[in-house]
Every structure is written in C-alpha cells, then in structure tokens.
C-alpha cells in the first residue's frame, strides 16, 4: 500500500483552511461560492419523484414512458469557481535531500495537490489537475466529488518527474480550459523562467494565480561539505566543486534570485508562499488560505 499523500496531522490542520478566491464574487450565484446545491444545469446528478410545483419541462418524459411515473431530472449546479492545480513535473522536481532521500520535491508537490483537492472537495468547488511536462500535459477536467478526487489520487501515484518545463505552445490546452475567473495554483520550484512567464500571463488574463515554491533543504542552506559533482537534472550540465568553498557565493546569488522572483510575482499580482522540505506540508497552505494570511496579498 503506498504511503498516503497527506499525512494525518496535515489532514487534521486542513479543517481550518478555506479556499477563497478574491475575484470570484457572487455574480454566478448567491453568497459565497461554497454551495453544494442541486438544480438545473448540464451535469446530471439524480432523478427524484415529481413534486407539486415542479416545472413540467423538467419532467423526464422518456422515463415517464417507461415507468408511468413522473420523475424530475436534476442536475448539479456548478460552483462558480474551479480550482486548477498545476504541478510542475519536470526532472528538477525529482530532487531530494540526502537527509531524507525518499522524499523528493515532487512528493511534497503531490501532497500539496491532494491537500488542495481536499479543500476544494470540502467546500464543493470543482477542481482540476494538470501536470506540466514537456513530454505531454496530463489534464483532468474540472469536476467535484469523491470519485474525481480518487481519480486524481490515481493520477498522482503514477506520476514521475521527467523532462523539462513545457513550451508555451504546449500549454495551449490549459488556456482553452481554465475559465475566466478560475483559481490557479502553480506548484513548482520556480527555477525555470517559463514557469514565471506562465503565471504572469495567466494573472494578466484575469485568472487568480497562486504560486507555491517548493525548495529542498540543500537549496536553502547549501549544507554540502566536501567535493561534489553537481548536476542539473534538466540540462545535464555538471559542475565540480567543493561545498564549503561554494557556499557563501551560492547563498548570496540564490537569495538575490529569490528576492527577484518574489518581486516579479508580487508585481504580477500572484500571491505566493514557500515550502522547504523540512517544513510541515501545509505551511504554504496556512500562509495562503489560513485565517491570518487569507486577506494578505502575497509576501
């Protein structure tokens, strides 16, 4: 049996979180978008017996012909907001720390995807998932329900990290599917400029974009000591170096790059949060959706 995607303590803390989209206010419904109400719509939900007052055009006449009873066809009313979870599945996401070799950046990302899906499911929002890879996007349509959640888990378990970040043209299916006011969460290491580019353009096109950056402990602290052959998993580039000698310079440059990235995300109106692999999985979720960080825009 595979390890559960969401640890028990994280699952417990998810109860205090709620997905709130800043831009999705009730122009397609009344009240907060979190309603699980049935009525007319495209998606079939169930049949129920006719009651006095139902519109005659809602009666399923073909079923009446078969059963000699009036049944009303009900459809699930769609939530105004769909949550799009975009998980970077390029090769760089496979990086793990020597301290905890079995837990890669992609594993943390999968856990976050599952946690976000739980949040959406709990408040009746539709959610969709896409794995970003240059070998082909994996897409699911926005939907709700536990079956959809289970299908998402199945997709996640079989998802490896390989290849690079997709080209802009390869991302066209996303543009076709992500709705005008949908909530988009991008889980990545944000090292590839294409990722930032995607977030910036989605945000500019009216989607509310949230960014979660997943970093390894080695990237944050550079706790390497001794001789190493550093290899970029996506480009295959290699660099020989001594950990202690490289540390100060790397930390300076990486800190500057992070500051630049945060500034760019803030400028694009993308709220963002970090997760380092030694932190609890729900750290960025608490920051983005918790009661304290809920209304705060970004960093």
């Amino acid at each position: 049996m595979p390890e559960p995607l969401i640890p028990a303590d994280v699952r417990h803390r998810l109860k205090g979180l709620s997905l709130v989209a800043r831009r999705a206010v009730g122009d397609r419904g009344i009240g907060l978008h979190a309603s699980h109400s049935r009525g007319t719509g495209l998606e079939f939900a169930q049949y129920r017996p006719y009651e006095f007052g139902d519109e005659p055009r809602q009666i399923d006449w073909k079923l009446y012909a078969r059963s000699d009873r009036f049944f009303v066809r009900e459809a699930e009313r769609e939530s105004p907001v769909a949550l799009w979870i975009l998980l970077d599945a390029s090769a760089s996401m496979a990086q793990a720390d020597a301290r905890r070799a079995g837990f890669s950046r992609l594993d943390a990302g999968k856990g976050l995807v599952a946690a976000l899906a739980e949040l959406a499911l709990a408040q009746g929002d539709r959610f969709a998932f896409a794995a970003l890879r240059d070998t082909g996007l994996t897409l699911t349509r926005p939907a709700s329900g536990t079956r959809h959640r289970d299908r998402l888990h199945l997709d996640l378990h079989g998802l490896p990290a390989a290849g690079g970040f997709p080209e802009e043209t390869a991302l066209a299916p996303l543009w076709e599917r992500i709705g005008q006011r949908d909530l988009v969460v991008i889980l990545s290491d944000w090292f590839d400029p294409a990722c930032l580019d995607l977030a910036r353009r989605l945000s500019a096109a009216g989607r509310e974009v949230l960014g979660i950056q997943i970093l390894t402990i080695g990237e944050r602290d550079f706790d390497y000591d001794g001789g190493y052959r550093f290899r970029d998993p996506e480009t295959g580039e290699e660099l020989l170096g001594d950990g202690a000698a490289l540390r100060a310079e790397y930390l300076g440059r990486f800190g500057a790059a992070q500051t630049g990235l945060h500034a760019a995300l803030d400028a694009a109106g993308v709220r963002h949060a970090d997760l380092v692999l030694d932190q609890p999985l729900d750290t960025p979720l608490q920051r983005l959706f918790g009661r304290t960080g809920n209304r705060a825009g970004g960093e």
């Binding site: 052959r229 020989l240 001594d242 490289l246």
Partner: protein, 375 residues
C-alpha cells in the same frame, strides 16, 4: 649523553607517513554526484590551481607523529655514554665512614651487593670482596676516579687478586671485616648398610672411631637421619626414593660402588697415588652425593688401610671452606683489567609508551562523536 640510533635502517619505516598523507588528500578529490536543480546560481569562479589541501589537520598530524614514533622505535633509539664521571668511593663493610675524610662531591657507596649509598645502614652480612671489586670496576665509568676504602684485614677474598681497568686508590684503614662465617657444626655420621657390605662397613666404623665421631649404624630399612648428618649408604641396588629426596633437600651422602644412582655430571674427588679416581662427587638438588668407584676392600682400594683415610673421609663428607681472609696490602687490585664497556641506555620502552599515547589520541580523534561523518 649522546642520542643515537642502534639500527638506522629502521628509519625506512618513515616512508609509511605517505599513507596518511594520501588518505587525507584523497578525500578532497572525491566527487559525489548530486542532483542540484539550482545549478544556475552555482557558477564557480575559476579556482586557483589545485593546491594540495588536507582534511582534518589535527588528526593527520597525530597520525604522522604516530608513524614517526614507530619508525624511530624500530630504529632502536638509545642514549650513549650515560655514565657520570663523578668520583666513586667504596667502603668495605665494617668501616665507620665518618672516620675517613672524603671528597664531598664523590659518590660514596658500600662495597656490598647492590652498591647502596653510604647513608643506608652498613650491610651486616659477609660480602665477596674480590668479586665486588671486579663488578664495581666494570660498572664505573672509565673516566671516574675510583677509591676503595678497606680495613687492614679483608674477609671474603678469593684466590685471584682482582684485575681492574681503573687506577684504583687502595685506601687501608685499621680494622677488620667481621668473621664471615660461623664455625661449622661438628660432623655427624649415619651408616646404613646391608649384609653384603658388612665387611666394608667395618672400615667406615673404624675411620669414625679414629675421628672420634659418633656413628649411627643400622640397616637400610631405618629412616633417614636429619639433614645435618652425613649419610653413608652401603647397599646394592637403586637408592630408595626417600634417600634421594633427602639428598635433594640438602643432605650429603656417600654411596657404595654398586649402588645405582641417577646419572649426571661427576667430578673426581679423590685419587690414589697412581691417579686412579676412587670417589666421584656430584650435586643433586640442594645436596651432594659422592660415590665410591671401588669396593670397600683393601685389595681393590689400598688407601682404606692407610692412616690418612679417616681424614680424607671427613673431608669428603664435610669439605673445609676455602680460605678467604687476607691482608689488605697483599690484595691490592692489579692493573690490566678489561675497560668497562661503553654503556648506553635503551630508550625503546619510553618510545613504546609514547606510541601507545599517540595511538590513544589518534583513536580518540578519529572516533569522537563530533567528527563529521565521511560523506
């Protein structure tokens, strides 16, 4: 005090120092492949040309020290000329040191086994003076003047005047060394004889009577006498185990020519006029056993009936001590002895201790918990 190496070839072991140097150097060139996605911020400035660097310098130094100590240990370190040239004054026991004026810087010792300082109580036992003079001569540095203070009459001398390498100042003061040995107790005899030797036993009894000694005469089955008594055993066949044990505990025995005793290295103790050995002796355990080589019969052994026989028998069973008393002026050491060998002190035990200490330090440094795990 010259440090030296007795086996300089052992220094070849210093080559082993290369091993820890290589071990501590090799770790630097080791490259562990590591995935690192943030490589673009890891641009390396061109490193200065590879300069050898060593990890864990303290541990490396300890290991080099350990190997160097082992190499020096193998080379046999020693200190040459460790003797001091201070004058030596040796006092024969029995002299009051206060009565003799002496150089205050000189090392004053007793001429007694151990050569203890003069501050310790004077040795009371008799000492072999001649032997001690020779030992002192070889143990004193060649450059050190040697003075020996002796009383006018010496006891404990041996038959040879000592030959020494030093120019010994032979200082004679009045007095005498105390009598060395107590007078020996009078000889007692025990005779054990079987019937076949009854004739020969008569000569023994006659000799005892001539010496006016009491004799305890009985058959072989009688118990052995106390060890101070000399035993004359005239019986054929092997010596009983009880008698053998009695001899080994310090008894003196004369056995007949047809008594079987254990074989061993023997010395002729009595020859007749023609040089034919009549009695041979040998030591057994703490005691002595003498064996007649001829039957106790005047035909085979005409000396039996000569007047000197009782005296010779007494000498065989209780030999007189050699003369040891001598006039000090006649016992002045002669020049011409071998010079004392150049003495060196072996330093290897100290190096062994240092090696053990260095090894412990090395183990402690190499296994302490704070040491970074080799990645």
């Amino acid at each position: 005090m010259t440090p030296t190496l007795l086996l300089p070839l052992g220094l070849a072991a210093l080559g082993a120092i290369l091993v820890p140097l290589v071990l501590h150097l090799a770790r630097r060139t080791e490259q562990r492949p590591t995935d690192f996605a943030a490589l673009r911020w890891l641009r390396q400035k061109p490193r200065p040309r590879h300069r050898p660097k060593f990890d864990e310098l303290l541990l490396l130094a300890t290991r080099i020290l350990l190997l160097a100590l082992v190499a020096v240990f193998l080379a046999g370190p020693a200190l040459l000329n460790t003797q001091d040239a201070t004058p030596v004054i040796a006092f024969a026991p029995g002299i009051d040191p206060a009565t003799v004026a002496r150089d205050a810087k000189a090392r004053a010792i007793w001429l007694a086994p151990g050569f203890r300082p003069i501050d310790t109580p004077a040795p009371q036992d008799a000492v072999p003076i001649g032997s001690l003079i020779r030992q002192l001569d070889t143990q004193t540095a060649a450059t050190a003047p040697l003075t020996i203070v002796v009383p006018a009459t010496l006891d404990g001398a041996d038959a040879e005047r000592p030959r020494v390498s030093h120019r010994v100042r032979w200082h004679i003061v009045p007095g005498a060394v105390a009598a060395s040995k107590p007078a020996p107790s009078p000889l007692r005899l025990a005779l054990r004889t079987d019937t076949a030797h009854a004739t020969g036993a008569r000569y023994i009894r006659a000799a005892a009577a001539a010496l006016e000694l009491p004799i305890d005469s009985d058959g072989p089955a009688r118990a052995v006498p106390p060890p101070t008594t000399a035993l004359i055993w005239l019986a054929s066949g092997p010596l009983p185990a009880a008698v053998t044990r009695w001899i080994e505990h310090g008894g003196t025995a004369l056995v007949a020519n047809d008594t079987v005793i254990e074989a061993g290295l023997t010395v002729p103790a009595w020859r007749d006029e023609t040089g034919r050995p009549l009695v041979e002796t040998r030591s057994q355990g703490k005691g002595n056993v003498a064996r007649l080589l001829q039957p106790l019969d005047p035909i085979a052994m005409p000396a039996l009936v000569e007047p000197a026989f009782p005296r010779i028998l007494a000498d065989l069973l209780a030999p007189a001590p050699p003369p040891t008393r001598v006039e000090a002026s006649a016992y002045r050491p002669l020049p011409g002895g071998l010079p004392p060998a150049s003495q060196s002190r072996d330093l290897r035990p100290w190096f062994a201790l240092a090696i053990a200490a260095a090894w412990l330090v090395e183990r402690w440094l190499a296994t302490r918990a704070k040491r970074a795990i080799a990645p």
